[in-house]
Amino acid sequence: MRATVSDLPLVLDGVSVRAGAATILDSLSLSITPGAPTLIVGPNGSGKTTLLRLLMGLAVPSVGSVSWGGRTESKPVRRAFLFQRPVMLRRTAAANVVYALAQAGAPRRERAARAAALLERVGLADLAQRPARKLSGGEQQRLALARALARDPEILLLDEPTASLDPAATRGVEEIVLMAAQSGIKIVMASHDLGQVRRLAGEVMFMVRGALCERAPSADFLDHPSTPEAAAFLRGDLVI
């Protein structure tokens, strides 16, 4: 559809985010390229959400620059975002997906069929005509995934999408995320559930106090953390 434009690699160059006197992110430089899912891990307040918002272009750096495939303008081209609490538009599940397809520039005559296929993909085909706001938390999150996938993204950013879901709903969301990853979509997801990290991650970015403390393949991070902060976090200590 828009194969000529790419949002990858996604590069942060010396990025800091400040709010008043507080520093939320501190001189971060990193690059995100296609590959296995990246999970952003760290205690609450470590800057995970702000980092994801920067990667999406929803937040702007106070210092430094963000670029998507070499471009610095923040318009989301081939990226999508899944919020912890997605906002459902006041219309049916199917209409929510059709809306996302329309915004992504899908031709009008293809929208209904593609929406049906996306709902099938997230297991909501039977609920297509239900009002989106009447769906359960897990169903809403899967519908939000269908909307995100409607953008035909190269990179999907997820901000603790299962934080308020029960295990069954969490599994439903994780299966879709893994399926997306297998189809070549780069996953970048914040989580503070170490079990989820074990299940999904290819690599881990461990954040403490707004800084990237450690970045490593998930097996290395979980079994042989190289920093004392990561070791303490994995032990279950409070990392302040």
Binding site: P76, A80, V87, R90, R91, A100, Q103, P131, R147
Partner: protein
């Protein structure tokens, strides 16, 4: 004795003159609400979603204009439409059209101000999601207006209530001409000044009943459609 029942008698007997008055009142006020919605809703949404110098002043002004005195609006429209006024050549003073114009001016601020507040609150909820979906500014306005449709019904009802209840503006620009520009409210004012209190009270009751019925219907529609759309 017959005097006390005269208003009810008129209703029960299906008095043609009374129904003409009711029909004109509804036609004028509902037309004004429709026009004011076409102007006020996009205006309110636009103010809610844009930032420009002087915006706060405009918001305060708009809120204050919800309390515009109908006689002042009536006078202004009268001056515009009177034979020597800038729009005098149109020759529409003392017609239902003039009454619709006056009531539209009266309720645009109500609908615009209530829409602005509703859309601004909804935008706070939708901002991130719509930005992530790369929705254009015009698309945002349309999406928010549509998703706020149940709340905006209240803005329309507030506008209709104001239009149906006011007497000053329609009296001045309509002239209370029997069979042509006489509405419920101007008829009540006239009958009261003539001392025909039972008839005035009867007409007043009919007016209240109609407003109540329209609000009940709107409420029912809202509850039903909310159940459908979530």
């Amino acid at each position: 004795m017959s005097d006390q029942f005269s208003a009810w008698q008129l209703i029960i007997n299906g008095d043609a003159a009374l129904f003409a008055i009711v029909r004109l009142s509804l036609a004028v006020s509902l037309s004004a609400v429709a026009l004011a919605a076409l102007i006020g809703m996009p205006l309110g949404a636009l103010i809610a979603l844009t930032r420009f110098p002087g915006r706060s002043v405009l918001v305060v002004l708009l809120n204050a204009m919800m309390g515009l005195p109908p006689v002042v609006v009536g006078l202004a429209v009268y001056l515009l439409l009177s034979r020597s006024g800038p729009l005098g050549a149109m020759g529409i003073l003392f017609t239902p059209t003039a009454m619709v114009i006056a009531q539209t001016i009266l309720i645009v601020p109500i609908i615009a101000a209530l829409t602005r507040q509703t859309i601004e609150d909804l935008w706070a909820e939708y901002r991130d999601e719509l930005t992530a979906m790369d929705v254009s500014p015009a698309g945002r306005m349309a999406t928010l207006l549509w998703d706020a449709r149940f709340s905006l019904l209240t803005a329309l009802l507030a506008g209709f209530g104001r239009a149906a209840a006011e007497v000053g503006a329609v009296m001045i620009v309509g002239g209370n001409i029997d069979g042509f520009t006489r509405t419920m409210t101007t008829a009540v004012a006239l009958e009261t000044s003539k001392g025909n209190l039972p008839l005035a009270m009867g007409l007043g009751l009919v007016l209240v009943a109609i407003v109540l019925a329209i609000n009940a219907a709107a409420w029912g529609t809202r509850v039903w459609s909310e159940r459908q759309a979530g």
